[in-house]
């Protein structure tokens, strides 16, 4: 294997380790939320420091790679993609930490009716599934899979858009559970962000594989809508 490929592999491996950690953080967030598990929530907050360390480490590895290998073409796109995916993973890590902080505001397991109405669980499942699928798209260099992910983000947005009204209604009917409902609403907002961040990562995978910027095309579409 050429020297440059060895370095690129190292970079990818490091990114995938971070990816695993962030996935674990998100999954733990879901557990903590379901059981109002304060201990677990605390642990998630603490572990976010580790995510940040990965972020710094990968940034530094990319910087070194630029300086020492002056990559071009597909190599250049790969490192640029790693840099941006890294930034997005770090933010998803922050999101998981944010979820944990809202869990810390719950003093008992979440009302089952509230869970049902807001659809926060299927939303969480979908966000987790998208995140895992995105990792597969990255490993298998699969722009098709990445494109499919961008479409899937719609489901999260749909639940998010309805959540305000649903939660408001619930709070009116259950004035004693307002803080609980607010916490769930905030978590829903966070999950909507995860969808956006997964979309960003998917766009980077497409850019790396196909040398195409997807972002601007999408922006144009959004304007038409």
């Amino acid at each position: 294997m050429p020297h440059i490929d060895v370095e690129l592999e190292r970079l990818k491996t490091k990114l995938l380790e971070m990816w695993d950690l962030v996935e674990y953080q998100l999954q733990s967030g879901r557990e903590a939320m379901l059981n109002a598990d304060q201990e677990l929530a605390k642990l998630i907050v603490k572990r976010d420091k580790k995510v940040n360390q990965y972020d710094l480490k990968i940034d530094r590895m990319c910087e070194n790679f630029f300086a020492l290998f002056t990559p071009v073409a597909v190599d250049l796109r790969m490192v640029l993609a790693v840099l941006k995916i890294n930034a997005n993973l770090e933010r998803i890590g922050d999101t998981a930490e944010g979820i944990a902080r809202f869990v810390q505001k719950l003093d008992s397991p979440v009302d089952s009716q509230l869970l049902e109405l807001t659809q926060v669980l299927p939303m969480y499942e979908e966000a987790l599934a998208m995140f895992a699928e995105c990792r597969v798209a990255f490993i298998s260099n699969d722009p098709k899979l990445a494109k499919a992910l961008i479409k899937r983000d719609k489901m999260l947005n749909k639940i998010y858009r309805k959540s305000d009204a649903v939660a408001t209604k619930f709070m009116q009917e259950n004035p004693n559970k307002i803080s609980e409902a607010l916490a769930i609403l905030s978590i829903i907002k966070k999950l909507e962000r995860v969808g956006d961040q997964v979309t960003n990562i998917a766009e980077e995978i497409i850019f790396y594989r196909e040398a195409k910027f997807v972002k601007h095309k999408q922006d144009k579409k959004k304007k038409k809508d």
Binding site: P2, V72, A73, V74, R77
Partner: protein
Amino acid sequence: MGKKTKLEAIDLDAYYGDFHALKSINIAMEEKAVTAFIGPSGCGKSTFLRTFNRMNDYIEGFRTEGQILIDNKDIYQKDVRVDELRKNVGMVFQKPNPFPKSIYENVVYGLKIQGVKKKSVLEEAAETSLRRAALWDEVKDKLHKSALALSGGQQQRLCIARALAISPSVLLMDEPASALDPISTAKVEELIYELKNDYTIVIVTHNMQQAGRVSDYTAFFYMGELVEFNKTKTMFTSPKDERTQNYITGRFG
């Protein structure tokens, strides 16, 4: 867009005896732009470069088919005078090759051959060319010292000054910085950047970063074929041909 084509090859084939060195090359190079030729050793870069000032004519058994146009004129037509052509097309080689004469004599050499005798004209041309080649300040006090006493980087800029003195409109450079240290290389690159305001420049280089830094367009050659020709930015970010990609990322063979 809408820019003028300065150099052009149309269905160009070139042979060294039986050896088919260039295979139906078609390319149009823009005026006052820098075009870089890249490709593995032996792919035909120098051969192609030299067709633009007919330097290959001296090589026994060399012949071309097809056309080479400069300003839309076929330079292999019978009525073309090669000495006139070379006035218009200057060349700089890989190894600095100053004559064993003074710095001044080196620069005005071409003009003297052309019959220019007036001292004031020669002196002015020497100063202008040395300034253009970013060498004037370093040599103005020793113009009559031997050119061989200059450093390699200075010698290369002297050769560029010598090429510029005959006021060409095209400058061909065959690996002009490959024997130079990073500082001299940077100076030559800076110079190329300056010169493209007035000259059409073609540079052969094995240094990918150099091609990226100095050229507007890049042509990739492989085994006598022109594989890909595009804006340098495109070539180094998203080349279309896999062979180009493998070459520029150092994964050839």
